[in-house]
Symmetry: C2
């Protein structure tokens, strides 16, 4: 990398990571680098194989501008999603594609340990061929909870309270980067999803729980402890009696999360006990679509509560876009009219005007892709890892690697 500043490489790699394909001109605009520095750094990235020429655009006077993109097989990241049930681990390419994914099995049922995660990371690397294994640069982990300043995790769903993980994770054989799932989701939507290129948006996860990640003025909003966006446990209706798993009453989660929609439906429909355990959110959505009055009422109540909450988010964060993910995203046909009506009723027209509400298209892989994205971002900011990523001669170029060399579950959507 003699003569090529690490910062130029970093800026170019970050800009290219957010684009499926790009040109020199677009890279110059996105990075603000001067043309000489950018050319110098791009030459290096092309030479070492981290960037590929994949074609050329129609010339607009002069010669055809090359189309460039990251070589997806120039590096791999291990991605871990601790929020999904069961937790999952995946091999992710530099292009953000998931090549393979596996569940992580708890050594003691219902009690996931850091050792189990280490085992999952090791299993991914072992399943690669030796050359691929060499190009696994780092791991990223999406954590459904709080990471304190000392790197201890509190995650209610995992039964973890102030669990120290930094030291044990040093045995992973690679750098491991952790982040909270709200930031991971925001990175995934901004890099690969509906919020690509968007500077102000909210990602709303509505499923097992209700939560948000906020991207404002081009940055994730973290707050004092990185806990900003605790949307689900806002008391959306102080008069409501719905008990919440947090101990309060009237939380948005207690009215509008998938399990609580199911609970309200079972209560309203007076189902026999043996039937309750078999009802899922899809059943309630299905019943509502068939005109079941109780299902419609319960979903209407959840939609009104979510919509009032969204009107608060629109006022406080002034986003241009709200991306809805999680199980409830599949019920947007039923929820959207309530969300829209609440926004019209409760948000100032100048705040609500032009705010788009869309459904996430990243599906269950979102947090895995976001975790790989976080690992990539951290790597290019670390001089040693950046050097490994861009080392000349280390990357096989030419035909993309066949995926046969990795054994495991193929990357079909789960």
């Amino acid at each position: 990398m003699r003569g090529v500043a690490g910062q130029w490489l970093r800026d170019i790699l970050l800009a290219m990571f957010q684009r499926p394909a790009t040109t020199r001109a677009e890279i110059l605009r996105a990075t603000g680098l001067n043309p000489a520095s950018a050319s110098h750094a791009l030459q290096h990235l092309l030479r070492c194989g981290a960037v590929l020429k994949i074609g050329a655009l129609e010339p607009n006077g002069g010669r055809s501008p090359d189309l460039l993109r990251l070589n997806p097989d120039a590096a791999y990241f291990v991605a871990v999603d601790l929020e999904s049930v069961p937790p999952r681990v995946a091999l992710c390419s530099l292009g953000g594609e998931i090549r393979y994914r596996w569940p992580i099995h708890a050594s003691q049922p219902g009690n996931l340990t850091v050792g189990d995660i280490l085992e999952g990371i090791r299993a991914v690397v072992e399943r690669c061929d030796p050359w691929q294994a060499q190009r696994v640069i780092a791991a990223g982990i999406a954590v459904p909870g709080i990471i304190d300043a000392a790197g201890r995790i509190t995650a209610v769903n995992l039964g973890w309270r102030n669990l120290p993980v930094i030291e044990p994770l040093q045995q992973a054989g690679m750098p491991v980067f952790l982040d909270v799932d709200s930031r991971i989701s925001v990175v995934a939507e901004r890099t690969f999803g509906a919020a690509r290129g968007c500077e102000n948006f909210v990602y709303l996860e509505a499923g097992r729980g209700v939560g948000i990640g906020v991207f404002a003025d081009g940055r994730h909003v973290g707050g004092r402890d990185g806990m900003a966006g605790e949307f689900g446990h806002m008391t959306i209706d102080p008069r409501a009696q719905d008990p919440c798993r947090c101990g309060k009453r009237g939380c948005l989660d207690a009215i509008a999360s998938a399990p609580n929609i199911v609970r309200q439906y079972c209560e309203a429909a007076r189902l026999a006990d043996h039937r309750i355990a078999t009802v899922g959110i899809q059943d309630v959505l299905g019943a509502a679509r068939k005109g079941d009055a109780e299902a419609l009422r319960v979903i209407g109540r959840a939609g009104m509560a979510l919509g009032l909450g969204l009107s608060y988010l629109v006022h406080l964060f002034n986003p241009e876009l709200i991306v809805v993910g999680g199980d409830l995203a599949e019920g947007m046909d039923l929820l959207r009219p309530h969300l829209q009506r609440q926004l019209e009723t409760h948000a100032l027209p100048e705040m609500a005007h032009g705010v788009r509400i869309v459904t996430s298209e990243l599906g269950a892989d979102m947090r895995l892709r976001g975790a790989a994205g976080i690992a990539f971002q951290r790597c290019v900011s670390d001089p040693v890892l950046l050097k490994k990523l861009c080392a000349p001669g280390a990357i096989r170029t030419g035909r993309l690697r066949s995926s046969r060399s990795v054994r495991g579950q193929p990357a079909a959507r789960p």
Copy 2:
């Protein structure tokens, strides 16, 4: 400035602006500059008179570290506050002190024009002695409304709708920087007030209206149109019938702003029409302190609504500090118990834990000081203005200027 990078000067000036006094060591920590660059730039700033040595600390081994601060008379800014009634204009020193302030008189009563503001700015400069006038670098204006991408202002209180101001303000004879009052307040509290050095806080203005400015992760949260923090017109109680000036019902503003507290008190106390016009928020606060049941009930309702709103802010922004300003800050003895109770009831303990609620100490001058702060920040980021600010020989050093040379109302708090 030969050999001294503008960026070094900017970083040092910004770091010193936020500190009443500082040392080389603290400047190094705050700026991350290398010691040679910082020394070089500091020498330049001392030589040109923008920075003064004001003493030395006790030596902690080695020689005594010099105490440094900005020379308050090295530059002046004109500050304009369009939110106060009447609007005000002030001369503000580089140290953030207000030297003089005057009201801006509308040429047609109740109809403030850009011409009136220009007249106000000109009057400030005319009242300076010639040398001082030379050192007036720029003006900052606090705007109570929205500034769109084309620089047009919409401000309901001023009766302005999409008013173009950028071009007319070019006649001010100096660069003029505009910003919305939420950002101005946040800059003032962070630079001169209770939030000094704080990376995550909310400034709550509760008086004529209810609004917030949010500082998260070391930056002001602006949003798509810079309108983030529209707290007052959130529907805090969807069942409430209180009409709001925005046209909705149940807004936080309609329940908890000073005029609406007065309205509710007058309605509850069934005051005769001729008395209503004479009642102010101080009267309601005074009556409550004497145990008047209606006043206590109305203030209790406002406190509960504000407290529920604060629980939302604590969840969504995860701040460490809430600074309360505006007329209602003087009623914090009455409001605080309601705010605390609502936070305890409606915020998760881990979110509410350690959040301090304090009263702003900047008083009515806050927006003037913030407007000067914004002008300063913009100036040091502009190479031409930075050069003017740091031009060798241009600044008289030695004894601070006598304020006799400026004619006008002395700087006592209004």
